[in-house]
């Protein structure tokens, strides 16, 4: 019996092209049916290879890929009932929009009238009716993207795989098409797996964000978990929005510990449940950039703040609703405060000013 469920399980999936180095190295992951999952990581981290293995365009060297309860390793894409939307779309340049979309039905032997009717319905869904007879080269990037999406969706796959679907578009269109992808996913009600290297894209779209590095999964979870509670320095730095500080544990006192730093009293960090640190350990901590408040020296710290790091303002970038203030708090590392626009302009700093960077003690997050 064929399952219509599009839940995916990767079990110990490995891939090596040369037999020596592993592009994908022991990946275990469960993706729920109908989820929007984003794989994110720098280029070469193996995210596209995972996608291609799920699609059936690449065989894993080891491990199992289970879709809807069935191990699909070795099956053709059609048998897996997956469809892939390729990076830069791979539309057939000699076929019109309608023929492109009807292609999969044509090779499945559907009659001409039936397949054109199905294609036209799909064309309407992606709002391309007036372009149905054009060739791909006569369409804009956003329109081509919609054709690619429609072409992949027409076979009613249970999993749709998207390889960097938005990378060929300009910024504005990207945001617009992002919403369209989400809308299509909800409308079709199937599993989407989306590969990207843009953090914003991943957290805006995904139910499940999977951060990868060098063939391994670093963290997988809901967008908010991954962004606000990164496991380690890599995830924190890759997802952005965090300042990462490191230092040695100076003393441990019950629910918190103190990290030795340039600051007069060190940095107080709350202890997470189940985690133990001992004096002398080297620990990374993350502090969200929008949690950092800047206070002029000598003034009182806001309530809840026990740590203050003296810093000099290195650069200031106006970002609209907030101002990005770059500080020299930590040698060799970036330390940035996102100050709300109104707060900043109530008492603006200039480059070279000395400020105290502080944050509510509870918001510092120790990393693995």
């Amino acid at each position: 019996m064929k399952s219509d469920r599009g839940d995916i399980e990767l079990a110990g999936v490995c891939k090596s092209f040369d037999g020596a180095t592993y592009v994908v190295d022991g990946v275990n992951l469960k993706i729920a049916d109908g989820a929007y999952c984003c794989f994110i990581g720098p280029s070469g981290c193996g995210k596209t290879t995972i996608l291609r293995m799920i699609a059936g365009h690449e065989d894993p060297t080891a491990g199992e890929i289970v879709i809807g309860g069935q191990n699909v390793v070795g099956l053709a894409p059609v048998q897996r009932r997956t469809a892939m939307m390729f990076q830069s779309y791979a539309l057939f340049p000699h076929l019109t929009v309608r023929e492109n979309i009807a292609f999969a039905l044509r090779v499945r032997g559907m009659s001409k009238a039936d397949r054109l009717r199905a294609a036209d319905a799909m064309i309407e869904k992606v709002r391309l009716t007036q372009f149905a007879d054009r060739l791909p080269a006569q369409l804009s990037g956003g329109q081509q993207q919609r054709v690619a999406l429609a072409r992949a969706a027409i076979t009613e796959p249970r999993v749709l795989l998207l390889d960097e679907p938005l990378s060929a578009l300009d910024e504005q269109l990207r945001v617009q098409m992002r919403q369209e992808l989400r809308r299509m996913q909800q409308e079709l009600g199937i599993t989407f797996i989306h590969v990207t290297h843009t953090q914003l894209e991943a957290i805006a779209l995904a139910d499940l964000v999977v951060v990868m590095e060098q063939g391994k999964i670093k963290q997988a979870g809901a967008a908010r978990d991954v962004y606000a509670h990164p496991h380690d320095r890599y995830v924190a730095e890759f997802m952005g929005g965090q300042n990462v500080l490191s230092g040695r544990v100076e003393k441990v006192n019950g629910a918190s510990f103190t990290l030795a730093q340039a600051a007069p009293d060190g940095i107080e960090v709350p202890l997470q449940a189940h985690s133990t640190v001992s004096v002398g350990d080297k620990v990374d901590i993350a502090v969200r950039r929008d949690d950092v408040a800047l206070v002029r020296p000598g003034k009182d710290l806001p309530p809840g703040c026990t740590t203050s790091l003296p810093s000099r303002v290195r650069a200031i970038e106006y970002q609209g609703y907030f101002v990005k203030v770059m500080l020299d708090t930590v040698p060799d590392d970036e330390f940035v405060a996102y100050v709300p626009e109104k707060t900043f302009f109530a008492d603006p700093f200039t480059v070279g000013d000395v400020v105290m960077a502080t944050w509510a003690t509870g918001s510092a997050l120790p990393l693995a």
Binding site: H57, V78, F86, Q87, F92, F103, V107, R151
Partner: protein
Amino acid sequence: MQPSSSPAQTPPRANLAGWLYVLPLVLVLVPFFVAPILVVLAASFFATDGFGGLTPGFTLASYVEVLHSALTLKLYLATIKFTVLTWIFTLIIGFFVAYFLVFHVRNQLLAIGLFLLCTVPFWTSNIIRMISWIPLLGKEGLINQALLAMGVIRQPLEVLLFSDLAVVIAYVHQLTIFMIVPIFNSMARIDKKLIEAAIDAGASRFDIMRLIVVPMSKSGIALGTIFVVSIVMGDFFVVKVMSGGGSASVVSAFYEDVGVLQYPTAAASAVLLTLVLVAIVSLILRTVDIRQEITR
């Protein structure tokens, strides 16, 4: 839509640069192509004294003679037969060789190596290549000896050499490369992702070839066809040598005319053949917009 460019919009300097680019080609084509054609065209309208002397003038006598001759039709039919047969075989062989090189040889270095291998026959002259067929196809040749030894035949096959078959074999051997090169070129430009996208959609190997590879190699096929057709129709040497004088072609016939100093009839035949070729080529260009396909 082609953007229309009127001279008024192009700055004169760009115009001059454009002319400079085409100048070398013009310098070659005008004296060595345009001028001879004009001479032939003029000669086709001249009268002759039958001993090589030409009287400048304007007469259609040569054309009337050529068109009225029953031989002309026979010659054209013979030539077209060779052309079509050669075209079919070179197309099939050329297409699959190019397909193999582009889609099945993963290693690019190997593909280039094999590609160069296809040109090996061209490292020697045409005459040598045709002479080389004799020990293979001849009455005492390798094929006949092998077949005799195996007992497949009792008498050596006469049809192998100095026959129409031999003519076609020689043409195919000589011209397949002219199919391979342009088809290879247009196939190599097919994005491999398209093949993958077709597989993803559920296309079989045959579907991919029929719906993706063949339509996207159209320009290469058309170019190769033009090469092969125009070379075969303009050739007399292969026909003469490989048929052992038993067959003739349009060109070999007016080559004979030249030999017996019948310049105006030869010229008229040449003009006629040129017109036929121009018609065929423009028919091919009409079916395939090579210009658009190449700049795509």
